[in-house]
């Protein structure tokens, strides 16, 4: 609770609509807004610049790498939308960039804003009259019901289970602490330090796993490595071009580190696919080509999707199968592309159904004629989203969850330190309570009733 309506921290959020766009604006508001942005900004010293000025520069990540070239606009309070010091960051509109900047701001000390929180602050600071504010109240209600809907449903199946698992683990841990504090006189067996330590370490691992899985989610935004491979002349480059055609405008060339693979980014409904065109696979004729083939294999190992392209007029199912057997790895989703269908309209793509390849994994195309290219895109998108409606995923709520989980982790770490250094249970419990509080922002509040319930169901309490 206290986190939610606190006015003394600095909040950040994307202010433009989430998703792919030409540009995006992130807003940071609060007492520390200017120092926080300044810390990550390479350009003018923002702390020394006037209100209502705009500055071109770069937003840097923690390692000193450039995230994006941006324009920051300064509004010193009270002359800002919220009445507080505010910085607006205009960046390029890629979702990856938006997310990276937001994550960086959180890393620098901002908190991901809750729904309607900027407007709420504007109201608190008298920047808005009551009739406007009533509109805001409705907005908050609308946004938060949407948020509530999003919150868990958008965590993909496995993740929401993980969070539930973490919640019950922490409740178990907290109840073991409280058991000894409140029921020291009872004849029950209290957890020993090493038992508590194991529980806590497991919980930390779980949080770490969740944080990582959110990162994985963000990797979706950074781009899904998609390798196009096949024998020479299968039509790989034609397919690449066909896929990129409509997207040219927002495609950026990423300089390849190798001479022989070309990477392009394709956005399908806002989700970037990093398409990697590779050298043809065949028995190496010379050493240079051998290196190229080796790189193809390396790229495939780093990828999650393989588009295996072949000339439908040339290759037999057995040959395809033997190629795939060499290329596949457990995390790789393989889509078969029988290409050049225009040259052999009587080919039967279903002939290529084989072990690990179902009919839905086969998309016959004629890359030259754009045949089935939209269908292939749909298939690519589906391989990422599964049956979930990822497209309406709220970027902000994701960051908020990550933010919460990182705080959970921080408090668990402190609790572990205390546990290791022999601190009292009541001191460890302070951090566990904070951790539960932040977890509660995702899962719903964890009350002392939950803890007591956990104690009473497992231990025979009561003189």
């Amino acid at each position: 609770m206290y986190n939610r309506h606190s006015l003394d921290d600095t909040i950040a959020a994307l202010s433009t609509a989430p998703g792919q766009a030409a540009i995006a604006v992130l807003r940071v508001s609060g007492a520390e807004a200017i120092p926080i942005v300044n810390e990550g900004f390479k350009g003018k010293n923002l702390e020394k610049t006037e209100s209502h000025t705009a500055h071109l520069g770069f937003l840097m990540d923690a390692e000193g790498g450039v995230i994006d070239q941006v324009v920051v606009t300064l509004f010193r309070g009270p002359h800002s939308y919220t009445g507080e010091d505010t910085v607006e960051i205009s960046c390029h509109g890629s979702t990856w960039i938006q997310q990276a900047i937001l994550n960086r701001l959180i890393q620098l000390g901002a908190r991901a804003a809750g729904p309607g929180e900027f407007t709420f602050r504007a109201f608190i600071h008298g920047r808005m009259d009551i009739s406007q504010a009533e509109g805001v109240a409705d907005l908050i209600a609308a946004e938060s019901s949407a948020e509530a809907r999003l919150a868990l449903s958008h965590l993909r199946g496995g993740i929401s289970k993980e969070i539930a698992g973490l919640r019950s683990r922490l409740i178990e841990f907290a109840s073991l602490l409280e058991l000894e504090l409140d029921f020291a006189e009872e004849q029950v067996e209290f957890a020993n330090r090493s038992q508590l330590k194991t529980l806590l370490e497991e919980a930390i691992l779980k949080v770490q796993g969740l944080v990582d899985s959110f990162r994985l989610g963000n990797a979706i935004k950074q781009g899904i490595n998609t390798v196009i491979a096949g024998r020479p002349n299968a039509g790989k480059s034609t397919l690449l071009n066909a896929l990129l055609q409509e997207e040219r405008a927002i495609v950026s060339d990423i300089p390849g580190t190798t001479r022989d693979t070309i990477e392009e980014v394709l956005h399908i409904e806002g989700i970037p696919f990093r398409l990697i065109d590779t050298a043809g696979i065949r028995e190496a004729q010379d050493q240079i080509e051998a290196i190229g083939v080796q790189r193809t294999h390396d790229k495939i190992r780093q990828s999650s999707i393989l588009l295996y392209v072949f000339d439908v007029t040339g290759l037999k199912p057995a040959e395809v199968q033997s190629d795939i057997a060499v290329l596949k790895h457990p995390d790789l989703e393989i889509i078969l592309i029988p290409n050049k269908m225009d040259l052999n309209p009587y080919a039967h793509p279903e002939d290529f159904v084989m072990e690990g390849i179902t009919p839905s994994d086969i998309i016959p195309t004629s890359a030259r004629n754009n045949m089935n290219i939209p269908y292939l895109k749909e298939r690519l998108l589906q391989s990422v989203t599964g049956n979930h409606d990822l497209l309406s995923q709220n970027i902000l709520s994701n960051s908020r969850h990550l933010d919460c989980l990182q705080r959970v982790k921080e408090h668990l770490r402190r609790a572990l330190e205390q546990l290791n250094s022999g601190g009292g249970h009541e001191l460890i419990a302070m951090d566990i309570r904070q951790a539960l509080h932040y977890l509660g922002e995702i899962t719903g509040e964890v009350t002392t009733e939950d803890l007591l319930e956990s104690i009473f169901t497992r231990f025979c309490i009561g003189k």
């Binding site: 009533e134 209600a141 504090l181 009541e426 302070m430 025979c460 003189k463």
Partner: protein
Amino acid sequence: MFPPYDVIVVGAGHAGCEAAVAAANMGSRVLLLTMNMQTIAQMSCNPAMGGVAKGQIVREIDALGGYSGIVTDHTMVQFRMLNRSKGPAMWSPRAQSDRNLFARKWRTLLEAHPNIDFWQDMGSGILVKEGRVTGVRTAMGLEIESKAVVLTNGTFLNGIIHIGEKQYGGGRAGEKAAQGITEQLVSLGFESGRMKTGTPPRIDGRSLHYERMELQAGDEPAGKFSFTDTPRLEKQLPCHITYTNGEVHEILKTGFDKSPMFAGRIQGLGPRYCPSIEDKINRFADKERHQLFVEPEGWDTCEVYINGFSSSLPEDIQYKALKKIEGFEEVKMFRPGYAIEYDYFPPTQLSTSLETHLIKNLFFAGQINGTTGYEEAACQGLMAGINAHLAIHEEEPFVLRRSEAYIGVLVDDLVNKGTNEPYRMFTSRAEYRMLLRQDNADLRLTPLAFKLGVGGLEARMDAVKTKQGGAAQIEAFVKSASVSPDQMNGYLESIGSATLSQKVKLLTILLRPEISLPALGEKIPVIGDFLSAFPEDSVELAEIDIKYEGYLQRERDLVDKMNRLEEMKLLDNFNYKAITSLSAEAREKLSRHKPRTIGQASRISGITPSDISILLVHCGR
């Protein structure tokens, strides 16, 4: 026949007695109405005060001018500070009292108060005029007028006692139940419910073989509850510990078919943390034995209380089972344990002053609010008594925050969350456990009560100033003084702590976990000389402040954040129904609970953070 009273307190248990004293200490003329003058301040269950979290409450009651701590100090037969091995936030005083002395001492103190009158009669209803209480109606047919009424009916409202298949009306063993009040309150629009609690058999101590049990002695020297100069216990009585066993369990099981609990004759919900012995055996079937505490009832009685053996099984089953307990082979029973069901009123019908929403100047305290425990009851009585006086004078109610007292946590939980089972305090219910310690209850609360005008606090106020001033000087000394290897190394070596190679600040030594300030005072002359000018409690306070500074500061920071919401007031007549952006549940609950502050609203179950944002917007903050 009666002078005009300010406050009538109905019931003279722990809640009623404290309520009467509190209102009287504020200056109100009080009538204490009880069914039986001989059972004032009865300990109906075990003869003990305090315990984990409860001991903190008794200290708070004392700091606010209540008598529970004083009475306990005068009547205890044993004292123990529980959780001594843990940090100071967990230390919890607990005392066994002489049951008869306890009640007698209370009566003596009440009789000594010029503002308190007594009347023996049963309250059968309240008088109400235009939504305001105007007095009490009694079973004798009298109408006694007052400006405020505090109901502390305990387990008496339509009480039914169960022993096996027998059941009869009663408020306590050998005492009749109170009828009429529930029915009247329900007709006035109150919602009522049923709760259940139980008590173990009482035993003839002469029939026990104590030598076959474990001895549990009190602390030496004994501590005490009151911040006033009550006497310190010199000689103590021991308690004993024994255990049930498989044979005992088997015998108890033969009575399960006659158990009023298992047969469903009892509908009220009992406390999970105070289960009957049959409940323990039933729910934790794989547990081979359960601990029992054999507690003396007083100095000059052989009556013994079997803590942990609460039961409502038939008396012959209880008796047969007891006989199989180690040391109980020849046991004689004075009376069997029983379960009691009684009416309560869900406390969400109260405001934080414990005044009912429905009827002005009508207050509820104790088990009528669904709580259990003497300490929980007593502190509600105290708060209701103070607030009854304030209400009469149209003054702002006296409400303690969750960050100020366990009492604040208790009242806030009750009125905002309500309770389904008898509510007992646990330290885990408090967010700010480090701040709400038993040792600083006086610093936290006495100045508040003194400022409010609670009488009889002068001595306590002086003690607070001395303690606080002393602690401040000691802290300054510890932070500024340096100690040399010559002064320290001998002692440090003797306790296996790292020795010094040069002069260091005393503070750095004290921060070592193995070092304590009183011990330094004893062993190091220069420190001892300095500390000797201060009372013990100043030394203790200074040490806690120094050793736990970081944690205390973290909690204070949390309190500051939280207080923002606590300071945002909501109006009683706020029309929540008109705010369509609130969820339907929020509109309904806020209208019913009538929270006084945004903070309070945020703790009502079912109120979401977004509801709070919307409220904040609407109340123009």
